[in-house]
Symmetry: D2
Subunit: 342 residues, 4 copies
Amino acid sequence: MGITAAVAGASGYAGGELLRILAGHPEFEIGTLTAGSNAGAELGTLQPHLRPLAARVLAETTPETLAGHDVVFLALPHGQSGPLAERLGDDVLVVDCGADFRLRDAGDWAEFYGTPHAGTWPYGLPELPGQREALRGTRRIAVPGCYPTAVTLAMFPAFGAGLVEPDVVVVAASGTSGAGRSLKPHLLGSEVMGSMSPYGVGGVHRHTPEMTQNLSAVAGEPVTVSFTPTLAPMSRGILATCTAKVRPGVDHAAVRRAYGDAYDGETFVSLLPEGQWPATAMTLGANTAFVQVALDERAGRLVAVAAIDNLTKGTAGGAVQSANIALGLPEELGLTTIGVSP
Amino acid sequence: MGITAAVAGASGYAGGELLRILAGHPEFEIGTLTAGSNAGAELGTLQPHLRPLAARVLAETTPETLAGHDVVFLALPHGQSGPLAERLGDDVLVVDCGADFRLRDAGDWAEFYGTPHAGTWPYGLPELPGQREALRGTRRIAVPGCYPTAVTLAMFPAFGAGLVEPDVVVVAASGTSGAGRSLKPHLLGSEVMGSMSPYGVGGVHRHTPEMTQNLSAVAGEPVTVSFTPTLAPMSRGILATCTAKVRPGVDHAAVRRAYGDAYDGETFVSLLPEGQWPATAMTLGANTAFVQVALDERAGRLVAVAAIDNLTKGTAGGAVQSANIALGLPEELGLTTIGVSP
Amino acid sequence: MGITAAVAGASGYAGGELLRILAGHPEFEIGTLTAGSNAGAELGTLQPHLRPLAARVLAETTPETLAGHDVVFLALPHGQSGPLAERLGDDVLVVDCGADFRLRDAGDWAEFYGTPHAGTWPYGLPELPGQREALRGTRRIAVPGCYPTAVTLAMFPAFGAGLVEPDVVVVAASGTSGAGRSLKPHLLGSEVMGSMSPYGVGGVHRHTPEMTQNLSAVAGEPVTVSFTPTLAPMSRGILATCTAKVRPGVDHAAVRRAYGDAYDGETFVSLLPEGQWPATAMTLGANTAFVQVALDERAGRLVAVAAIDNLTKGTAGGAVQSANIALGLPEELGLTTIGVSP
Amino acid sequence: MGITAAVAGASGYAGGELLRILAGHPEFEIGTLTAGSNAGAELGTLQPHLRPLAARVLAETTPETLAGHDVVFLALPHGQSGPLAERLGDDVLVVDCGADFRLRDAGDWAEFYGTPHAGTWPYGLPELPGQREALRGTRRIAVPGCYPTAVTLAMFPAFGAGLVEPDVVVVAASGTSGAGRSLKPHLLGSEVMGSMSPYGVGGVHRHTPEMTQNLSAVAGEPVTVSFTPTLAPMSRGILATCTAKVRPGVDHAAVRRAYGDAYDGETFVSLLPEGQWPATAMTLGANTAFVQVALDERAGRLVAVAAIDNLTKGTAGGAVQSANIALGLPEELGLTTIGVSP
């Protein structure tokens, strides 16, 4: 008897990726699948790559349809998880891939999301110091945003070791699946192929306070993040380039030591050998973050880069990794570290 | 104790895909990896996505380095497998992803490849009538070419049921990984992105006699194939569009019955529901072929389309599927049917 | 004083391409721009690449807003041009980029479009025998469809010289801009990047009767066309691969002669040197069709390939080329033969 | 009689783009074309999109073959222009698209390029204060690097108006054509499609001192630049995201005024309306830079973004623009501001 798992939002890209991973997970048994406007449809018409689940019919997303499972994965627009989660039992593991329970500061939430703050759940980034322990046995998990996953993994070792000033500049490129499956003109293939463009410029992207929260916690002081996301002509992947001024006396050896210590023993974060840089293609479909770091002595800056698959380590893979921990399963169960490449 | 497997040609795209699959296969243990000009290098510098194998050093491709394994996968340029295979023991399962042992007709071989014919091995396309049986217990497997895999799966049911004239037109689009990792100007990203182009036009592509051989065997008469491959701006995937004149009296129901019968019960070939057409993205990294067929009554033609991942079902996945059969393992072991999408 | 030109449908891709070309045309002066649901918007918000026209406000598409110009270009959904054109003066040159006036056979129109047949206008493919003359002085032009442009240019020389049987198989790949700017799930960047897929399979694509009409006229007998369009991961470009059985006695020299004769002296169709094959990237933004042909002696087939930019030679460039002829201007005015490459 | 122009390096991407522009320029007549290892080849085999020049045979790149022209455009690997230019007459306009004559500081040159410093020529970025005047009548032009073009246009107005601290962080994405046509594994289509990756991280990219030089000159004090280039899955285009801390008291109005003043009246730089952001696709084949800027009040930073076509405004278009000025022609002659989009 497996652990039964429901997926709410099964017709979207995050929901599809959850199902791809769950279908290959040796302990989970896929239960109810739900959707919003696509309720009633067969999954095969919407997610044709999920062939073994093609005949499944999507239910409506309600507490009732989601009831009776050991785990409920929520892949819903922000604002929907809060009310829904209240009606799911305390003994059910609820894993929210949305933003509702990520932020600790209600003011940040109000400023960036504009709706009432639902609360704060244990944050599903096990590689953060102390976080793996916080996830053991929990029945509520807030899965990190895709950009914050990449940025936090790129920069927290520098803050943990006190290497840099608390003022970070991040420019990140994301594949279009990060914008979801909604029909918007700028997401048409004709518009995105052959084109790079920024969006949410000037500190207004909703993932900004989440990065600030993570890095400030590690730094032990407020960290400022200037974040500019860009849309890249690819379906998946995030490449986050992050830089901050190094503190006096910080040298190459200190930098490598800090990152080496942070990721030594981590299955899902790979610090590359010196001189080798991440490419998002290395991560396709894998729950892996590749990280690399350099010291620019002329500019007096540390430059750290992380590459992830936004839907895997950046969403669904990260969700399953944290769920494994919460349930006492081996952390890497059902997750691969090898991307589909080239 | 796992089954030990060596991979010759581990620095190429087919070799990398073999390793990706073998690393997740519950019964295989990855042994020696070899390369040509890349011998001596660490795998991580060439195949960075294969993180768990990054420290492996590539040996030279010789009978000696490949000796002592239960299975040897060959992913080499054509002409190299023949001499090598002779020096590998008869009890070793040798799986050749190259062309050397695919063709039965030495004249075809001479005409299209120009070198002495190495021989003919059991053909690794289990879905072909009688072929699964031929693979059981064998110690030599010729993995089909990527295009012939797609074209044969698209068209053999039509020939098996006597629906069409023995004159097929095929136009297929392939991702660039099908051309391998060699440095050729027309394979540069700057050249291929945003561009479709044909190559090997006029019946000269080396996969043509292999298609003819497969379809003629099923038809029981000589089949002519007009084959035009095209290069598409994507890394992976083959979309093969195939058409032939229907014989008198063939109707829609007969067509659906033929294809339904051919693929009923097959794990790795999916006949889509009527009206839904394959896209190569459905197959990314999966050992799945999606097939669909229609009858064009005005033109009097059957049109069949197959989509595969050229490196998975079209090469490495197909190789492992056939190796599973040869070794008496469950055919689907270590292979997924779910692509990484979007 | 220039020739004044209005563009109806200026917010779409075809309309945008018309404006790009007209803005660089030495004789045209751009007048009223109209749109459907985008009426009232500034062009710069919809077509930001048309910087010099950014401040233009889109009018509604009505006979009144379009009145008072020497030329009216229509880039509208099919069915809209007919009623509109009736209300534009007979002395105005009306160039319809839509389908309304392309087909001569009302039965074909009814079968493929389902609405009343608006009529037939001179067909804007000057390279077709006799067609350049038919366009001189006309005040009504039906611009060919993008696929029929490519397919007709690839195959009419073979029919003109009696080289092939009247049974053609066409498989063509198109960039996504050919599907226009409408918001459909399968046109999202996340869906199309990295993917090839067919659509309109089985003889149902609306461009089929137009190909049949063109080739039958040249052949002097009914020609059957099996047409399968595919969607390619690129914004622009059509690659049409066409094949037909050669008649007895047709040899290589006859084939080259036929194509050489057909395109000798044509500015906008380039028969490539033997052995060099078209790529759509050669044509980006240019009013050029590249054509190449080969004889497959084993299969007894002629294979002809044409590459065009679907929005330029396939729509807006072809429209301007024909308008130039109608107005007595040099045919090549304002049109380039050099693509933007790589 | 036109102005005769030779192009050295005609088989590369920059050379091809020069020829595309020159072929449409009303005053230039294309003379000798030269190449390195491709000398002796017909241009049509290497640059098939340049159809009207297809029969031109490439000469060797020597002072003799380049002699006798009014203008010589050099599109050569760095280090080759210096010796060559010495042997071209002082009355010949020599326009170097390479790096040899860009840097004023010989120490910078030695550190980043490692060869003897050839000297410094007037810098071909007319939009920089005072630079247009410096180009009038000159017979030597150093065309800016593609990245420095984008970065300088994005940031110099901020320095000109004293808005920001002299410490800039730049992350820029480039299409693969920026890396030229050389055969390198990481430039294969299979590697770049679907992938973003950084390179030259840590302040080592050769364009860094050029950015520093330009911005320092405008700022009137030394400016530090942290520059991280990334490779994007597209053929053309640069998107440069630049940020610096704003000085106390700088507000939104001051920022817009500075950028408005800098680009008011410029043909080839377009400051977009507030809230609209550049995309590289807007610039394809056009000599246009699109610029936008925002103030991130939380982070205390100005964020400026520029998009260009690296081969047009970033190389060949910029070269022709400056050559026009040097020769006393209208600056915009032969150059379009409208990109090929979508």
